[in-house]
Symmetry: D2
């Protein structure tokens, strides 16, 4: 949390990853572990009940907890200590069933996974909203002509709907990835000190606890972190796709282009001293996050070669980095929804910009049609010459070609006849969401 946390982060994810909820997730692990162990006859249910009652972050002294980490090296040890003390205050006997058979990393990893479960729900929900907004925009701008640009140069006409339909496909692929990584990453960690389990965390208890927590069962992943790395990557990819949208918006908002604008909440991005400015504030956040998340994903990949049965440093480097990836990507997703929900499109200006090159962007189309009449070479030479003349004389290409009576020139200088299969592509994409 800093001055800028609400700017870059998703507030919802900040809450999911708050200190309180981080600690509560670990306590939920301890509470449910005790319940399952009791249900499996390891001890009386009443002791599990006491543990569950005490496993509440409101009873935890957070200051003490934080300062103890410098001694213990992770939060689980002092947290279990506090929990044990709380239980002990209630029942001397119950204390021996706290954290029974588990190791620190079991608590920390499973706590994280419980938070990731909520995180995945967040992403699924928000991505569905973004898909919806993109469908709406695509439908609305199915026939909104604009110029397609390559290497930041005007190339040929398309429609704005084609652009957004391709965004939509990318976002949907990211949604599929997140839904599919779901099964990979939501694994209970319950493996004991060196991953070999023990009598208190046998196969049956593991299965029961996983079911109780709605997690998958797996063997120790203490130092085989591929699933976690995959989760980070999948968010990194979403982040990139969101940034592709923001990059386009920022470019389209340029004073000289002025085709698309972030929705004007009162005052957003404005400047009292420079009244013509309309700063792309929301896109800016997405682009800033896009410059940060990829290298955080790399840190997760770099953290993979963890030593033996528990790492000295690499595991620790994951903690704040993975949550940062979640919060930043979540922030970009929320901003992207805001962007798409309020986007203003100046279709008039788009048409004007199509005309900026005075017909030159239609040259290829004309050349192709001419080719079928007079042969490719002759067509190419004729059009090339006409283009040069147009540029030199500062005239419209149609003007230069007006005496070429071979083809219906007027039709060839209309955007609707130069957009290839834009409409068909859009419709086939939209059909998938009907």
């Amino acid at each position: 949390m800093s001055l800028y946390s609400d700017f870059f982060y998703s507030k919802q994810l900040e809450i999911i990853f708050s200190d309180e909820n981080t600690v509560q997730a670990m306590l939920d692990f301890e509470s449910n572990l005790a319940q399952i162990q009791a249900e499996n006859g390891l001890f009386d249910l009443e002791f599990a009940q006491i543990i569950s009652e005490k496993a509440n972050h409101q009873f935890i002294d957070f200051e003490k907890l934080k300062s103890a980490i410098n001694q213990s090296g992770n939060v689980a040890i002092p947290l279990v200590k506090q929990l044990t003390q709380l239980v002990y205050n209630q029942s001397i006997e119950a204390l021996k069933y706290v954290h029974l058979g588990a190791t620190s990393q079991d608590v920390v990893d499973t706590g994280l996974v419980l938070q990731l479960k909520k995180t995945i729900d967040f992403f699924e929900e928000k991505l569905t909203v973004l898909e919806f907004k993109l469908i709406e925009i695509t439908k609305r701008h199915r026939l909104t002509f604009m110029v397609g640009r390559t290497l930041l140069q005007q190339a040929k006409p398309i429609t704005f709907g084609l652009k957004t339909a391709l965004y939509l496909e990318a976002i949907s692929r990211s949604k599929s990835r997140i839904l599919s990584v779901n099964n990979q990453v939501l694994h209970l960690q319950l493996a004991g000190a060196v991953g070999s389990q023990n009598q208190f965390i046998n196969s049956k208890i593991k299965t029961d606890l996983a079911q109780k927590l709605s997690l998958n069962v797996s063997n120790s992943w203490h130092t085989n972190r591929d699933n976690l790395a995959e989760f980070a990557s999948v968010l990194g990819i979403l982040n990139g796709s969101l940034a592709k949208i923001a990059k386009d918006i920022v470019l389209l908002m340029q004073t000289e282009v002025a085709e698309v604008f972030e929705g004007a909440e009162t005052g957003k991005g404005g400047s009292s001293t420079m009244p013509h400015k309309r700063n792309p504030v929301t896109s800016t956040v997405i682009l800033a996050n896009a410059n940060r998340v990829p290298n955080l994903v790399a840190t997760m990949l770099l953290a993979m070669p963890q030593e033996h049965e528990r790492s000295a440093g690499l595991w620790h480097s994951e903690w704040d980095v993975l949550t940062e990836i979640c919060k930043l990507t979540g922030g970009s997703l929320e901003k992207a929804i805001d962007l798409m929900a309020n986007l203003e499109v100046d279709s008039e200006r788009m048409l004007q910009n199509i005309e900026l090159t005075k017909g030159l962007i239609y040259a290829e189309n004309i050349s192709l049609t001419l080719a079928s009449k007079i042969g490719k070479d002759a067509a190419h030479q004729m059009v090339e010459k006409a283009c040069k003349t147009a540029i030199l004389e500062g005239k419209h290409l149609k003007e230069i070609l007006k005496n070429t009576e071979i083809i219906d020139l007027d039709e060839h200088f209309k955007p609707e006849n130069a957009i290839g299969f834009s409409i068909e592509i859009i419709d086939s994409i939209l059909a998938k969401y009907a």
Copy 2:
């Protein structure tokens, strides 16, 4: 290719991504495009035949090609130019059907995808070999006792087979990821200048060409690069899992640990002046690659926010980086197979190392058993005291506890009774590969 290319890279992948094969993959795109267009009646099959004949990298002047890229900005433009000239020399008419309707990025991207298809085959094949080697080792060392280590400290006994069984699971997950990303990344790119296609590359031609090249059909992914980024990530994750294995080997090969060794090809890793040395040469490569690949993956993620319908720079930054990721990860995979195929395990030394702490690594187990007799607290206090005494007096813990007649001490100081469910876990993993 450099002094070290065969050291870090997979030779097989170096060949797949050689200049010749890169150019040939692009020519295959052109050749098949012409065939399909002809079959769909756009022009006579004889012209397609001429194009196909000329679409052979042996006819290409590579020096000319390379130096032309500085003008054109990508390899497709001068390559198509050379191809066109070759065709023209044979048939003036055929030349107009070269590269018909396609754009540079269609050629470059599809050419890449054709290479990635072979790359995926390589990974599938090699990963199957690695799985096999890991299954063998796991079976062989199912009962080879060794110490499990956390934070590089001896913790509790496991078996070496448990370690390798967990490697096996991670490697199999990577194999699944690669097989599953297969469908995502192997997409024909055939979208024309701004992604809207045109009459020469309509839906039918696209479908036919994709089928001919055994690729999936999709809309333009010129500037929506998520699938490519996913492919890079998936390799990055494999790379990390391979490095986890190498990290363990390097640590286990330390003079002071000496439990496991890279197979001794004559002279490998040896030193004539330091005869005791046995350098982990093969693992070293994997670890070196593990320090390089993650940030290359990040570069692929950073390359995602590509501008409009074709990027000025980000697309270009993918080219050598993605192939580098493939070649390095492939190199690590080959080295890992070599490592596992030739690994020497000193099970005697493993047993000696278990004894290094003079019984202290059994303390937890004893404490747990005692707890059921005399209560957790009393047990814990007794064992803690005994451990301190053992350390102070430099004696074996069994010696200190010998008068504790509550439990069968001898049994508790045997590794087979301290490995938790190692064997059950191993067997359940092996069962999946039976």
Copy 3:
């Protein structure tokens, strides 16, 4: 700030970069700017006085400030707004002199630089302490023999002081870098909306303000961020040198090596259930940070190609990343001091470990001496054969060579005769700090 902030971060730097101090640094800019402008006759000093009185973070509504950033895109705009309102409440006339001629980025950048000034002081001070600790250790262990290791294999003897003397050199080079980057990075930013300044922030005012804030004068660096990137790099390098130390410590603390230990604060790194463990808690933090900082530095480098006169996103990506680099590196530095101040060295065990290979690590030395007697080839062959025999028969090399009466064998199996110029090197390094 999170559960782990005090674990990974420097607390001192957390304070320097707290929200309050971040805002105060910006207010200090505004306050001093007004003072200087008044002193230069732009308006009455009384107005500057009012501005200075109100430029106090205690008057700022932080919640309002944070939520306004989503509209404004940076903290300067709503902060100046609040300041203006505060001033307005006091004097309607004074309000027009708030932030006169400056632009948002002037405030944000200069505020940052004022914090970096304190950060540099922190690093200078702490690095001096670390140097001192390293000098002490080096002196103490000038003659503490240990084995030097290459590729994690025992190679030849050195002294522990040689190791730490080389750390010392690296740390001192980092100190020099930080002191030298000082002049590069501590530049007043006062350039106005597009970097061209204006009548209210002319050359004279800039010079005066820089002097007042003890900063250097420069032209606009709004979008030329090399100095900031250099500062980040320099910290990244320090971070790497600290991690080199931690890496060695973690390896030397391994149960099987056991030569060096983190100082034992009560309970640190201990485990009640695994009494033999002594976890490298402090080194672990440094290694975790070492896995995070490099990619944050890369993010700063990636943020350099900022568009035109102010960037849309890249500038914003610097904000939290640069402070993160400072706090993490500062944290590692504090931990390194703690490590060096409390390090326990087991010189007895070091000697034992030298003997682990039964004399083989002396082979090279013996071979070199023999060479001068019987020729290089004969010597090499004799020693090589003896080594093989020693390994095969499990005997000490001295035992095998005992009948070789050519040289004084005893002398050649003493570490003091096998450490090359370790002592001379140490002394020459220490001499620089005398």
Copy 4:
């Protein structure tokens, strides 16, 4: 070397880092070491002479060398072996003086440093050229008015010379950094197996050899790699500053902006089918490299925590990465020179673009002047209202304000009166290069 190597890399640096020159640099180390050792009386000069004669890459079997690396783990061992064989063929006695006292890493590191020496010369020379080009452009466009842009929105007028003068400052700072890191990185590595030197590489020999090779003397930096990391960072920073220029150019070349163009070599960036296009081919390379180099720098930083006296993997990860950083950054530098040498500036279009907002970009200036007449508030309100009217009615702001007889309106709508101290800043910068 790949299809694209001449596109992304500096050809000059490709040569410096060619296999032949890499091997020769290592042989130069061996040759000069022998010479110095002979001059210091360790053996006869004739033997050194033989070694020097054979230390020629033309005698080396490169295929054999490359394939041997998989056994040896680095190139030095098989290279010394080949050299020894060559010497042995000439003189049985001389062979024992090859590589005397040195270790593999001494050869590899010093060889690298000898190549970096040439690399630094390259950068110094090319940066001087770039400075010169930037000085020329700055002089030429001192008074070329254009609009300054923030967040990609038109803000206020500047001159093109101000932009390039600030580039010039950044490039000069990079030149200073490279000249200054020169002394840090050009250190002879001659430390022996574990960094403690030995009788054959004593202090005197080290000093003499360093002098002979025009390198600095230092103690072992086998595993303290800060200087190398600094060199990588310094290039990374230069790369970023070059990319800032390229980023601006690409944006200014947009069809809708069209103010600046890459020089038109015949056909460069052109498209026969899209005659209006003028692709930013050269800038594209710089931007592509800018997306790659930062993460390679991070890899160098990540490689710093090298184990003990020689690393198993991290050192190896430096080899191809550092040379890649050099070649990519060198490539960008050459491209930037090309860019600046041939840049076409359309000052007419720049003036037109200043008028795009119909006077709104002058609003702030007018407001400031009015403020001194009628007070800040009244001025602000009047101008704000006028701007709104101008936007609504689509009229020029001057038209709206024409009846405001308070100030000389005409003067306020001239760019020369709205560029702040652009000229003064430019002149003060140019003065430094006079």
